[in-house]
Symmetry: C2
């Protein structure tokens, strides 16, 4: 489980949770931390299972051997299961002083990963012969990003629904960027084999819109995201943070296209 | 996910949750139901992953093809993940009117399945060269039985700790009975291949104590279980229920030994 969580990737999702909570005053920082951790643990769990031989059969992840390569396949299945459960163990413990915030948090994060609208559903759609790209990406990526912003709001006593669009647009942007990385990066930069989506025939924004089209869509999504941030004490600081974070979405090799 | 949950097996664990809640007056039956369902969904999830080719490679479960045989391996991994998440989605929704009971319930069921003391930990110990049989069985089986009784108590506003021994002893008894079934049943009765534990070199109470010794241990554990039930309005009804349920633990073929 440690191997699956460290070293981390971009940690975009949990930083988003912290950023939204901070924008709202963050009156329960321990609960905010647990929510951010839950989001990241669930993300890591999905990567461990996604790397398994029966899915992507990926030898490498984040520049080191994937869990089933470093250990074995049974332990990789159990690692994913254990990380899913740890997200909730952690969240329940941190919410003991604010029990009324726990239910919405558990629902938010579990719905974003589970069935019918979360990562597990999105993964299952990869088994289907035909998938609508927006539905697929919403489940596979945008759902957990939306949960990241909404969980930050709920952890700080805010209203989840006000923060859904921010997370969804950033999730869609991240997925488009991931598709761009998939075609444009070199393997060393990315830490995993390139061209996986094309090789596996999965829906891909670059295949659908071309490189320039996909970059345009990426920029539009980030504008929609920052434009959706509700008025609150920390709104402008959060807008600046998100502009900065989203620069990291796009690989170096494509920065000139985006300029 | 439906295939993994229906038709059910003994449904011992969720009935235990309902039985304990009822003994305490069951003032929140919807929450009790959700707790019982969570326990059963987590149990089913563990079976789906346990049947995978990298674990037991079981073709059959409960008299029908295992999930990876009926569908495929990726969908079996996702089915287990989806069932784990559904347990918490369901629990969080049912607890909206009684938020102060949700945290303890989430902790109880997640700890019983997760790391370091639950099913996932127990499964992982199967990869180790040497395992102490009691620790192993506590994690693999007794933990979820203990969570079943404690969750019934918490759902009904009771004290979890008072109900731990009941669940633990029943879980140990169930595991001993399972070991007996593993050596004594015919495949048709059990619905899965016999002799799996011996074939896979896993710790087994029959190998350790012999058939008669294991049956003696089973009866002793059930006595300890019923003896631990705290005084409450429904205590004697619950004692009778557990005597009756535990008769179902032992396969027909061994009933004469136990008499």
């Amino acid at each position: 489980m440690h191997h699956a969580v460290f070293p981390g990737g971009g940690r975009f999702r949990p930083r988003l949770t912290l950023g939204v909570a901070l924008a709202l005053g963050d009156d329960a920082p321990e609960l905010t931390d647990a929510a951010a951790v839950a989001i990241e643990l669930l993300h890591c769990a999905s990567l461990v299972h996604d790397d398994l031989p029966c899915f992507d059969d990926a030898d490498m992840r984040r520049g080191q051997p994937s869990v089933h390569k470093a250990f074995n396949e049974p332990l990789a299945v159990l690692t994913g299961d254990g990380l899913i459960l740890l997200a909730f163990q952690n969240l329940a413990e941190a919410a003991s002083g604010l029990p009324q915030r726990l239910g919405p948090l558990v629902s938010l994060v579990a719905d974003a990963v589970g069935v019918p609208n979360g990562i597990v559903a999105g993964q299952a759609w990869e088994s289907e012969p035909e998938v609508e790209i927006n539905d697929y990406q919403r489940a596979k990526t945008a759902a957990l990003f939306a949960a990241s912003t909404m969980a930050g709001a709920v952890a700080a006593g805010g209203v989840a629904a006000d923060w859904r669009i921010l997370g969804e647009r950033l999730g869609e942007a991240y997925q488009v960027a991931d598709d761009l990385r998939d075609v444009a990066s070199d393997p060393e930069t990315l830490g995993k084999p390139v061209g996986q989506d094309a090789a596996l025939g999965r829906p891909n924004a670059v295949a659908q819109f071309g490189v320039k089209g996909a970059i345009g869509r990426l920029k539009g999504l980030i504008d929609e995201a920052t434009g959706s941030i509700p008025e609150c004490a920390g709104a402008s600081a959060l807008r600046a943070l998100i502009r900065k974070e989203s620069e990291g979405f796009l690989p170096q090799a494509l920065a000139s296209y985006a300029a």
